[in-house]
C-alpha cells in the first residue's frame, strides 16, 4: 500500500483521489489551503448571485471523504523535498509520500499594472476571492472588469445581477475573438450591451488610482479616460499556481512540465489539471489546458497510472462549453477564430440574433472538423461519433435533428439551417427526421 499525496482539492486532484480509491487500497491524502471540502469552482459565481448556497457547490457530502478513506489536510505546502519524498507545510508539518500529485490549479494573472494591489482590486478564482468580492461589493457604485475572457464576463454578470453598474474593459476589438469567430464574438458583444454592461472594446488598463486609504477609486484607460469605481476585477487570464514548486527539483516552465503520462522529471511525482504543462502539446490542444473537463480527465488518467496501469493522457475530441450571460455556448471538434487554409465554414444565425451555429469543415474532403453552437444545445455523443467516423459536413447537416439536445417543445432550426446551406452551396440537402435508433442504439 502506497501513500499518495495530492496537493490541491480541485476537480483534478479530487478526481484522481476518487479513482485511486476505486482502483486500489492505497492511502490517499489531499492537501488544500483553500477549503476543507471539494467544491465546484465553476459554481462560485452562482453563490454570489444568490442562485446557490456555498454548500450546494459541494458535489459530495462531508461524510463522503471519511467513508472513502480519503484524508483531508488543511494547509499550505511551502516546499517539496523530492529527495526525502516529503512535503512541508507552512505550519511545519511534514507529510511523507510514495507518490505525489500536483494539482494546484491556477491563479489570476497580474501584469504589473500600477495599483494592482490596492484594496478593492481582485481576481475571481478562489473561494477567498468570492469572500473578498462579497466585501468589496458593499456600497459599490461602479465596478470595472479588466480582461475579456470567460472569467471576465462571468464577473461582469455577477456584479450586474446585484444591479451594480459595470464597465468592462476588453483589450481585443471584439469579445474573446482570439477564440470565437467574428460573428459569434459579436453576438456576445450584443448580449453584454443588452444587459446594460458598459463594454469598452480595444481598451486597455493603464493604471488603477488610489484614494487616501489605499483603496481603488478609479481606473485610467489607455484612451485617457478616468472611470470612477470602487471595485476592479482583474480577469486577464490565469497562470499555473506553482510558485512553491520552483524551489524544488521538479522541472517547470510556465507550468509543471509533464510527459503524456503526466509524469514530471521526478519519478513518482505527477502533475495534472491547470498547473500541468505538456512538453509536447497533444493534437491541436494548448500545452496548458485550464479547463474543467481536461482537469477531470487528467485526474482519471493519473489514477490509472498510479494504480499500476500506466496510461497516456488521451483526451479525445475537443469539446467545451460556457454561458455568456443568457446565451449558452457549446463546441465540439475544432473551430478557430480564423479558418485555417484548408478549411471552409458555414454560418447560420436566427432572426433574434441569439442563436447561431458555425460549422467548420475541410474544403476539399468535406470532412466535418468542428461546430460552435450558440443558444442551441447539441448532443455530445453524436458529434463525438461523427468526429470519430470523419463524417462529411453534409452528413452532419442532414442528421442535425439527431444531435439536437434542446428540451422538448423547443422550436427547431434544422430546416432553416439546411436551407441556408443549400442556398450558399448550391446543394439540395434535406433534413432527416430524428431517429431514436441512430441516437441511442448507434445504428
Amino acid at each position: 500500500m502506497k501513500h499518495i499525496v495530492i496537493i490541491g482539492n480541485g476537480v483534478s486532484g479530487v478526481t484522481a483521489a476518487r479513482h485511486i480509491r476505486k482502483l486500489s487500497d492505497h492511502r490517499v491524502t489531499i492537501i488544500s489551503a483553500e477549503t476543507k471540502y471539494f467544491f465546484s469552482r465553476t459554481a462560485l459565481m452562482y453563490v454570489f448571485m444568490g442562485h446557490m448556497k456555498f454548500e450546494n457547490t459541494q458535489p459530495y457530502e462531508n461524510w463522503f471523504w471519511k467513508k472513502n478513506r480519503i484524508d483531508l489536510v488543511e494547509g499550505l505546502v511551502e516546499f517539496i523535498d523530492t529527495e526525502g519524498c516529503k512535503v512541508v507545510l507552512r505550519n511545519g508539518t511534514e507529510i511523507l509520500f510514495d507518490d505525489l500529485i500536483l494539482a494546484t490549479g491556477s491563479r489570476p494573472n497580474k501584469f504589473g499594472w500600477p495599483g494592482q494591489d490596492l484594496k478593492g482590486v481582485q481576481g475571481m478564482y478562489s473561494k477567498q476571492d468570492l469572500e473578498t468580492l462579497e466585501e468589496n461589493a458593499k456600497d459599490c457604485k461602479r465596478a470595472v472588469i479588466v480582461g475579456g475572457g470567460l472569467i471576465g464576463i462571468e464577473m461582469a454578470e455577477m456584479l450586474h445581477s446585484r444591479n451594480i453598474p459595470v464597465t468592462f474593459l476588453v483589450r481585443e476589438t471584439s469579445f474573446w475573438n482570439g477564440v470565437l469567430p467574428k460573428e459569434q464574438s459579436e453576438m456576445v458583444n450584443r448580449e453584454i450591451l443588452e444587459n446594460h454592461i458598459d463594454l469598452r472594446l480595444s481598451t486597455n488598463l493603464q493604471e488603477i488610482i488610489s484614494d487616501e486609504n489605499g483603496r481603488a477609486k478609479a481606473v485610467l484607460t489607455d484612451k485617457g479616460e478616468t472611470i470612477e469605481c470602487s471595485v476592479v476585477g482583474l480577469t486577464a487570464g490565469v497562470s499555473p499556481n506553482i510558485e512553491f514548486v520552483k524551489s524544488s527539483a521538479i522541472e517547470t516552465n510556465r507550468g509543471v512540465l509533464v510527459n503524456e503520462f503526466l509524469e514530471t522529471n521526478i519519478k513518482n511525482i505527477y502533475a495534472i489539471g491547470d498547473c500541468a504543462e505538456q512538453h509536447q502539446a497533444i493534437d491541436q490542444r494548448r500545452p496548458i489546458e485550464a479547463v474543467w473537463y481536461t482537469g477531470r480527465m487528467m485526474g482519471e488518467t493519473v489514477a490509472r497510472t498510479i494504480c499500476g496501469n500506466r496510461k497516456a493522457y488521451k483526451p479525445g475530441h475537443w469539446f467545451n462549453s460556457a454561458k455568456f450571460i443568457d446565451i449558452e455556448y457549446q463546441t465540439y471538434g475544432w473551430v478557430w477564430a480564423q479558418p485555417k487554409e484548408n478549411e471552409s465554414r458555414f454560418y447560420w444565425e436566427d432572426a433574434t440574433g441569439k442563436k447561431s451555429i458555425l460549422l467548420n469543415y475541410d474544403t476539399k474532403t468535406r470532412e466535418f472538423i468542428g461546430i460552435n453552437t450558440f443558444g442551441i444545445r447539441l448532443r455530445h455523443e453524436r458529434f463525438d461519433a461523427w468526429l470519430n467516423e470523419k463524417a462529411s459536413v453534409e452528413k452532419v447537416l442532414v442528421h442535425l435533428k439527431d444531435a439536437n439536445f434542446d428540451p422538448e417543445f423547443f422550436k427547431s432550426y434544422e430546416a432553416a439551417i439546411i436551407k441556408k446551406f443549400n442556398q450558399e452551396n448550391n446543394t439540395s440537402l434535406k433534413v432527416k427526421a430524428k431517429s431514436w435508433k441512430r441516437i441511442f442504439l448507434n445504428a
Binding site: 450546494n56 473537463y293 477531470r296 462549453s321 422538448e408
Partner: protein, 535 residues
Amino acid sequence: MKTVKNIGLLISLLGFIFFTGSVFTGTNKVTQETFNAWSTSQVKSEFFIEKAQREIVGQEMSAFDLSNKIIAIAKASNAHYMEMAEIPWDKIIWLKWNKSSKDFVYPLVRESATGWVVENQLLFFWLTFGLAIFGGVIAFGSEYKILGPAGIKNNGIFQHAATNRGWMGMFAFAYFVGFYVLLYFFPNYLVNPILAVNPVSLGLSGNPASQWFLYGFMYCSVMTVFAIRMFIKYRHNAYQLVRTAVVLFFQVAFAFLIPEILVAFNKPWFDFKNAWPLNYTFFFDWNINTLMNSGNLGLFMLIWGIVLTLIIVPVMVYFYGKRWYCSWVCGCGGLAETLGDPYRQLSDKSLFSWKVERWLIHGVLGFAIFMTALTLYTYFAEIETWRELAFGITAYDVQSSYGFFIGSIFSGVIGTGFYPILGNRVWCRFGCPLAAYMGLVQKFKSRFRITTNGGQCISCGNCSTYCEQGIDVRSYAQKGQNIVRSSCVGCGICSAVCPRGVLKLENGPTENRIDQNPTLLGNDVDLLELIKNNK
C-alpha cells in the same frame, strides 16, 4: 417598475388582510328556526337542546364563543347522561377534536353568521379575492421588466427572506399551516372567508359554498396567479410554458369546473383525473354506492376510475414517465409547480433524506393498499365498516386514521404547509402513494430518462439545487450517467437551469437507458478493454 411591483404586492397583501381579518369579524345569532333545523339532524340529547335553547338561541356572540359554547354544552350533556345507571347511548354526543368542529359545530355557525360580510358577499369577494388576484398579477407581471432579458434569473433567491427560510418564509409557513388546520378541522372559524366565494358557488352549481368550495376556488386562483409568474420567469423555455398551461387547465377544468357542473346536474362530484391511490376514498363503500346509484354515468365513473389506475397510469408512465401525471395533470403537482416554484431549492438533497423518502413513500403506499384491501373485503363480504374485525379495530378505524394522518395531515398540513421549509414537493416526494406506484413503473419499465450530455457537466450543482424532489442530479450528470429515478416528476427545471446544456428529458428505447458512454467523460478508453469488461 420596482414601484409597480411593490404596489401590486401591497394590493395583494390588502386582499389577504381582509380575507384573514374577516375571521375575527362579524357575530353569530342563532335563530329558533336555524337551531331547530340543525338540532333535529344533529342531536338527540334533550339535555343539550334544553341548555342550548337557553344559552345560545337568540343570543349574539362571536363564532369563537358560539363554538366553545356548543362543545361545552355537549360535554355537560354527556356528563349528565354518563352518570345515569343505564347510559342512553343514543343521547351521547360523539366528540373528537378533529371531527366535531367540522361535522357538528360548523353547520350551525355557518347558518347563524351575521354581519357585514354576510350582507355584502359579492363586494367582499372583490375585496379579498379581487384585490389579492389583481395585486398578484400586477406584481408578477412587472417581473417581465424587472427580471431583464429572458433567461434563468434566480438572482438573490438564497439571499431573500421569503425563499431562504427567512422570517418571511417562516411567516408563510405559519400561515399555510394555520390555514390548513382551520380548513380541515375547524372550518367553523372560516365562515366569512367561505362566504367570500358563496356568490361564485351559487352561480356555478346553485349550491351554497362549503369550505371545500373555498379551497377549490383558492387553489385555482393561486395556481393561476403563480402560473402567470411561471410564464414570465420561463418565457424562454417552451417545455415550461406548455407544461404549466396544461397542468393549470387540468386543475381548473377537471378538479374544479367539471365536478361543480356535475353537481349542478345532480350528478356525483367526480374528478376524472384523480386516480387511486391518491384518491384514497375511491373504493370506500359510500363512494361505490353513490356511483352505482348514479345511473350510466356513475357506472362509467366507476369503471373509468379502475381503468385509470390499472391501465392508463402504468401505460402512460411507460411511454412518458410519471411526469405525464405528476407535473402535467395532477392538482397537488400543479400547486407545487406554481405556488411552490419559489421554494423548490429548499428540498433536502442528502443521502439521508433519500432514505427517509423511500421508507415513507413506500410505507404510505403499503398503508393505502392495506386499507383499500380491507375496505373491499368488508364491502364484498358485506361486513359493516363499524364492525370490529380484529384487535378492537374496525374497517372504519383504518379508513379514518388514513384519512386523518395521510389525507389531511400529510398531504395538506405538511404537504403544502411546509413548502417554505422543506421545499415544494413535500407530499409528492415523501407521501403520495400514487407517486410511489408510478415511481416503481418509471424505475423498472419506462422509456423516460433524463439524458446526460456526455462529458459536458461542470458539477456546478444548479440541477441538484433546483430539483424539487431532492434528487442529487449532479451526482449522475458528472459521471455521464443518465438519470433514472423513481421520484423524478419530470418538471424539467434541472434542464432549464443547467448552464451548459447537459440535461434533456426524453423518452427513448428502453435498451441502454441507464448506460453511460465512458469515452466522452474522460479518456479515449481502450476499446478492447471495454469489451473485455463487457461494457
